[in-house]
């Protein structure tokens, strides 16, 4: 933990509101990105952001510096995201187009942009790849999805991921392996 973050936490624990705001600003972009990547909905990502940092605010006094603040924060965030993913599994729904304050955006925007510029065959291939990727992700358990997300997109080490999810590095490794195998099963003949 950097000395600067350490100082901010201690000041925030003493009730310094500005320090808490700075602490939030240090981490909130990656929290929002994680929530957006997992949930693909600005509204759900906003809910995760709000709930996570409110929990941090209410429980910061109990943070004892026995792990990094990043790990502690991500334990909270991943728990909230896992709950959301589990609820979705029950509802068996996941929207492709999401509404934002700037109008609807497709969660696979980068593919759409590329497809628009490419030839029809390439465009069809991209659409197919997009569908397969979504199917591959839907086939993962919430925990597998989380481990993959944290390792692939957030670049966290499996040791840290295990710590965040309250499990061992070995279990996180197994989870990543299972996730990859499942996704390869869906995408295998296509890439």
């Amino acid at each position: 933990m950097s000395p600067q973050v350490d100082t901010l936490i201690r000041a925030a624990q003493r009730g310094d509101q500005d320090a808490f705001e700075q602490l939030v600003r240090t981490y909130d972009q990656s929290v929002l990105r994680l929530a957006m990547n997992l949930l693909r909905s600005p509204e759900d990502a906003r809910d995760v952001y709000q709930e996570a940092f409110l929990r941090v605010y209410r429980n910061l006094h109990s943070f004892r510096f026995d792990c990094s603040f990043h790990t502690w924060l991500y334990r909270i965030v991943t728990n909230i995201c896992l709950d959301q993913l589990r609820k979705r599994k029950v509802r068996k729904e996941e929207t492709a187009v999401v509404e934002t304050s700037e109008g609807p955006i497709d969660r696979m925007e980068s593919y759409e942009e590329e497809a628009a510029e490419a030839n029809p065959e390439r465009s069809m291939w991209n659409r197919e790849l997009k569908q397969r990727i979504e199917s591959a992700l839907v086939g993962l358990t919430p925990r597998e999805r989380m481990v993959f997300e944290l390792r692939h997109y957030q670049g966290l080490r499996l040791r840290n991921i295990g710590e965040m999810l309250g499990t061992t590095e070995e279990a996180a490794k197994n989870c990543l392996f299972r996730a990859t195998q499942k996704m390869r099963g869906v995408l295998g003949d296509f890439i």
Partner: protein, 312 residues
């Protein structure tokens, strides 16, 4: 090692999560086994496909989340669109607040009034360095002396100008040639908000030949904790890839940056031209790098340059 064992290790090998011994075994095996080499290639292709699936965060979302959070902590309602208050209304509000608490706050109130008088005098008498909107501001005065502006948002406009929001409600727009705009962009590159840093750093690209922007970009590249900012700094430094200070910073990034994507781009930028003095750096990468993609890129360049990759 059997194909079955290697197959189980391939995802972990790809993510750099195997022991050095396992890594050697997988390396050796895929070198000799076409089926496992193809499986590894498939893993890379799959990861590349997922790389392109990053969610797009609507630009205003982060700021809205922050406002909602602070409102909730303060016990208020969720964020609402704030009406823009004119300077006269602000002054009247300040006056009414001060009069209400005058009895027990005589001295502090006097100080507040003096500051207000000074503030208004400065606002209505100064010169302006750019076109200013919102609450009228003498930005030359704001940026002079010891005042360090808090940059809230930096946005490039289509006509080549930049619009910057700073401090509480000040806004200024102008071109990068404007001294005040440049100072605000430099301040933006040091802000706590990574989104502001990303935007500020991106804008420096068109004037990277200026020494202050170059210094700031090198600092962002080697010191910024945010991956996005470092990647933007790398992109902005492209026109200066032959500069000795840039090469030195890139070498540092290659050996110390925690993000493989940043290291990968640093290599790309570093080897835009053949330079024998970089061979040592790349050999060092081969020795220390734990990401197979970065290692493979460094190895390919060394081979292309007919340099040894096995001197360690």
């Amino acid at each position: 090692m059997s194909c079955d064992s290697v197959s189980k290790l391939i995802p972990l090998y790809f993510y750099g999560e195997v022991t050095p011994e396992e890594e050697d075994q997988v390396d050796q095996h895929v070198h000799e086994c076409a089926a496992c080499a193809a499986e590894l290639e498939q893993q890379r292709a799959m990861a590349a496909a997922f790389d392109r699936r990053q969610a797009v965060i609507p630009p205003a979302l982060l700021e809205e989340c922050r406002e909602d959070l602070m409102a909730a902590i303060a016990g208020g309602a969720p964020r609402q669109v704030k009406a823009v208050k004119g300077p006269w209304k602000l002054f009247l509000e300040a006056m009414s607040d001060t009069v209400a608490g005058f009895g027990r706050m005589r001295q502090p109130v006097g100080a507040v009034l003096l500051v207000l008088v000074g503030f208004l005098a400065a606002r209505f008498t100064g010169v302006s360095g750019g076109s200013v909107s919102g609450v009228a501001t003498n930005n030359a005065a704001m940026l002079s002396g010891s005042h360090i502006p808090v940059v809230r948002e930096v946005k490039a406009e289509g006509d080549g100008t930049v619009r910057i929001q700073f401090d509480r409600r000040e806004e200024v727009s102008g071109r990068l040639e404007d001294r005040n705009i440049r100072d605000l962009i430099l301040a933006g590159s040091r802000e706590g908000d990574p989104a502001v840093r990303v935007e500020s750093v991106s804008l420096m690209k068109s004037h990277v030949d200026s020494s202050e922007f170059l210094d700031s970009l090198l600092n962002a590249l080697t010191q910024d904790p945010n991956d996005g900012v470092r990647l933007k700094a790398l992109d902005a430094l492209k026109p200066m890839s032959g500069d000795s200070r840039v090469i030195k910073a890139l070498s540092q990034v290659l050996l110390a940056d925690t993000n493989p994507a940043v290291r990968m781009q640093a290599i790309d930028l570093m080897v835009t031209r053949h330079d024998d003095s970089l061979v040592g750096v790349l050999e060092n990468v081969m020795q220390r790098e734990d990401n197979s993609g970065v290692r493979s890129k460094a190895s390919k360049i060394l081979k292309d340059w007919n340099a040894s990759i096995g001197t360690f």
